[in-house]
């Protein structure tokens, strides 16, 4: 089983409480089952027969997870309960026990593969579905490209495998990765800009794990702020940056911090601590589609921790987090690209 690759997490997280305070879903549902401890204990129970994937509540709990990985960051051993949960999802799918909603969503992502590129040259911008749906972010990013004197061709058209991987559909995710890599090669892309941290993470970490080689460098669109000598007319002012789940807990390229410095932003710490995720399930990529009610609860939890919810300008790395905070948290959130474009 896939879970067997996470023996450390199974054996150690099952009786450990040291990251309970960081369980985002546990903190809004107030449940034990939504904690690394109980998930790991239940997964261990698969071996002894006390638990099984026939238990729909157990499977539901696996698909409710926020996957922020802040538990792993907090753990002195960095046990990867996040990886364990993803492996368990893959086992659920292989056992044919995935919930109907999950199957439907995965089928939609499989069907969605069909990229097209508008424009010319070897520099491209992958405009993922979530970012593309936010016209303000798209417009701001286009302004940034123009200011940086970069004319990318724009790639649109479906999942590159991240959502499928997160849902536990590994062969389908790998197939999408192979197809996307082939598409980029065929298009002659040498530099690929990406806005969504989840997509960046897929390209930089999932693809190598699948054995898929990319023909190009991958850059965050936030990097346009610092790497292309863009001149900004004004400073960004006071903002509350939120570190996104992928950069904070997986691989931090530092582009958000560098961009904020370049924009001369006066950064205030958001909330009460830097251990929790304030990203409303960003790590779970499609939590907003599976469980919008949970994303709402998470956003309200975040909003309750703002110094002044009506006034504070919150800067985030992804359209996913922005939308959750604006729609459900009623916060004034913008992406880093929007903040930068506003300073041009």
């Amino acid at each position: 089983m896939h879970i067997d690759k996470f023996e450390d997490a199974i054996m150690n997280c099952r009786f450990c409480f040291m990251c309970r305070h960081l369980s985002a879903i546990g903190n809004v549902r107030f449940t034990e089952v939504d904690t690394p401890r109980v998930r790991a204990a239940m997964i261990y129970g698969l071996r002894t027969g006390t638990n099984s994937f026939d238990d729909e509540d157990f499977v539901d709990a696996l698909y409710r997870q926020d996957l922020s990985a802040c538990c792993r960051r907090n753990c002195v051993n960095h046990y990867d309960e996040n990886g364990l949960a993803l492996a368990a999802r893959a086992d659920v799918v292989e056992a044919g026990k995935a919930p109907e909603a999950v199957k439907k969503l995965a089928a939609r992502f499989v069907k969605s593969v069909g990229w097209k590129a508008d424009g010319a040259g070897d520099v491209a911008w992958f405009l993922d579905e979530t970012t593309a749906a936010d016209k303000a972010v798209v417009s701001a990013t286009k302004k940034l490209f123009a200011a940086a004197k970069v004319s990318p061709k724009i790639i649109t058209g479906g999942s590159i495998g991240k959502a499928l991987k997160v849902l536990g559909f590994l062969p389908e995710a790998k197939a999408a990765a192979e197809q996307f890599a082939a598409f980029l090669k065929a298009e002659g892309v040498k530099t690929l800009f990406v806005s969504n941290p989840a997509a960046v993470n897929a390209l930089k970490q999932d693809y190598p794990a699948f054995g898929v080689k990319l023909p190009c460098d991958v850059k965050c669109t936030a990097a346009l702020v610092v790497q292309y000598k863009v001149k900004f007319a004004k400073a960004a002012g006071e903002v509350y940056p939120l570190a996104d789940d992928f950069k904070k807990n997986y691989e931090n390229c530092g582009c958000m911090e560098k961009a904020l410095a370049a924009l001369k932003a006066t950064c205030r710490p958001f909330g009460t601590n830097d251990g929790e995720t304030y990203c409303c399930g960003e790590g779970a990529v499609v939590l907003d589609r599976l469980h919008p009610e949970l994303v709402k609860a998470l956003a309200e939890y975040v909003a309750a921790r703002a110094d002044d919810p009506k006034r504070d300008r919150i800067v985030v790395a992804s359209a996913y987090v922005k939308n959750a905070l604006v729609k459900y948290g009623k916060l004034k959130a913008v992406t880093i690209e929007e903040l930068a474009a506003g300073c041009l």
Binding site: H21, F30, M42, Y44
Partner: protein
């Protein structure tokens, strides 16, 4: 619970509970009930490890307000359903395990913090708040609860109140019972009461103290006002290695008798220094006993206290100074001791023989426990450290550890071996002037010793229980009270 889960009566009760707290706040699903069937007590961990089912609650209820708790209590009383309050579930004594089924009252939905009173330096909160969340809230306003236990990340404030928990700064700031101003409590019959608003008075016996440490057997603590403290200007630590634990104990006791005010002090015996402290710090401390202490407050006062403390350590007791760095190792790693890999873990069998005694008895208690464990259970290792120091004595955090291959494969035999260690060690501690225990509570694990401990005072305790909880629904089978 006497009502069968497949009966219509079960549904009748569920309907009443959902009416009281809302449909989303009553769970009867297996996964949720499973999550509340194991806490940090070794027996259910081992039971689960061996593939055995642990007793489960019938209903997991998440009340959102004191009034909702009161409604649940009235329902439970009417149908004689056991109620077990649950905070973070991180107790090591089995105190929150639903051993007779019934209702687990998971308090985490009651997590509001009402802010710091900057005139009185207090904070009022609901008791379901996780201690770290409360601490973060206070920190944001420039204050601290100074209640910093290893379980801060998981335990709720209510859990600490229920079993008189403590934190690493207890030597100066006290245990949780020293931090409490007043409580709001729902009694087993569903009445909402408030204890007096201040902790020092001459208005009769102190009801606040009655409920602190009652482990959910006398009612549900729903709200608390706690003292808070401004973040200190300075906090400094220093550590020493002494030739043996006896010398270090004398040095520590002398420091406490000097009436200097350390915020924390820890003394590890030779074995724990060598095997455990060295591992956590990543340094070689291969002989002697490690003692660390610290002071906090205004910088000049910290410096002056440190100067006097150093004289004690380095004078007649000849402590080898590990410097401020040697003390910082401990402060920086104070929680690391409790992470997997550093903490003991199933399949090992292990337990913390938490005992407290005055200075005249504490070493006797240590040796009595160590000797009995070493003699009767040669496969077990015995280690100990002394934390939570008072002017009159300190707490012994003694532990026994059996390697996994020395624990019987049969779970009943494993449980019997485990209980036998407790029986011998705890009785040795009590016989030598020790009190079980200082901050972990009694729960299920130590209930059988409570009669020995209280002696002729036990009927008083039982009388209080009967008066408050005539139907015996509150956390039955815990704290030495009857089961159901």
């Amino acid at each position: 619970m006497k009502v069968q889960t497949d009966s219509y009566m079960f549904e009748m009760i569920r309907t009443e509970l959902t009416d009281a707290v809302g449909d989303a706040s009553v769970d009867v699903r297996f996964a949720d009930r499973f999550g509340h069937s194991i806490d940090y007590y070794w027996i259910p961990e081992m039971w689960h490890d061996r593939g055995k089912e642990c007793p489960k609650a019938d209903f997991i209820v998440h009340p959102g307000s004191t009034e909702e708790v009161a409604k649940v209590m009235k329902i439970a009383n009417q149908y004689r359903i056991p109620v077990v309050p649950w905070g973070g579930g991180s107790g090591s004594q089995g105190g929150a395990l639903p051993i007779y089924g019934g209702i687990v009252l998971d308090m985490k939905r009651m997590n509001k913090c009402y802010g710091v009173d900057k005139e009185s330096y207090t904070v009022r909160c609901q008791t379901g708040i996780i201690a770290q969340h409360l601490e973060w809230n206070c920190n944001k306003e420039g204050f601290s609860t100074m209640h910093l236990p290893a379980s801060i990340s998981c335990a709720t404030i209510g859990g600490f109140l229920a079993h008189r928990g403590t934190g690493v700064l207890s030597t100066k700031y006290g245990k949780i019972e020293d931090m409490v101003m007043s409580l709001e409590v729902v009694t087993p019959s569903g009445e909402i009461i408030r204890t007096l608003p201040v902790p020092r008075h001459a208005s009769g016996p102190d009801l606040t103290m009655l409920f602190l440490g009652s482990e959910g057997t006398l009612g549900v603590i729903t709200e608390v006002t706690l003292k808070v403290h401004p973040e200190p200007e300075a906090r400094e630590f220093r550590a020493y290695i002494f030739k043996d634990f006896h010398t270090a104990m004398q040095a520590g006791a002398t420091l406490m008798r000097s009436r200097l005010q350390p915020c924390a002090m820890r003394l590890y015996d030779e074995t724990e220094t060598k095997t455990h402290v060295s591992k956590v710090f990543g340094i070689d401390l291969d002989r002697g006993a490690y003692l660390v202490f610290g002071f906090d407050g205004p910088k000049d006062i910290v410096a002056l206290q440190m100067k006097h403390a150093r004289k004690i350590m380095e004078g007649e007791f000849g402590g080898k100074d590990l410097g401020a760095k040697g003390g910082e190792w401990w402060w920086e790693n104070k929680y690391k001791f409790f992470y997997p890999g550093y903490m003991f873990h199933v399949p090992q069998a292990f337990g913390t023989l938490d005992t407290v005694a005055d200075f005249a008895h504490i070493e006797k208690v240590y040796w009595a426990m160590k000797n009995v464990v070493n003699k009767e259970f040669p496969d077990a290792r015995f280690i100990g450290h002394f934390s939570h120091w008072y002017e009159w004595g300190c707490m012994l955090y003694a532990r026994f550890i059996f390697p996994g291959d020395k624990v019987p494969p049969n779970e009943r035999e494993a449980a019997a071996l485990y209980n036998a260690v407790w029986d011998k060690a705890i009785r040795a501690a009590i016989a030598n002037g020790g009190v079980i225990n200082e901050h972990h509570g009694v729960g299920l694990k130590l209930g059988r010793y409570v009669k020995d401990l209280y002696g002729s005072a036990m009927p008083v305790l039982e009388g209080i229980k009967r008066q408050l909880d005539p139907n015996g629904i509150m956390n039955p089978g815990k704290l030495g009270f009857a089961g159901c």
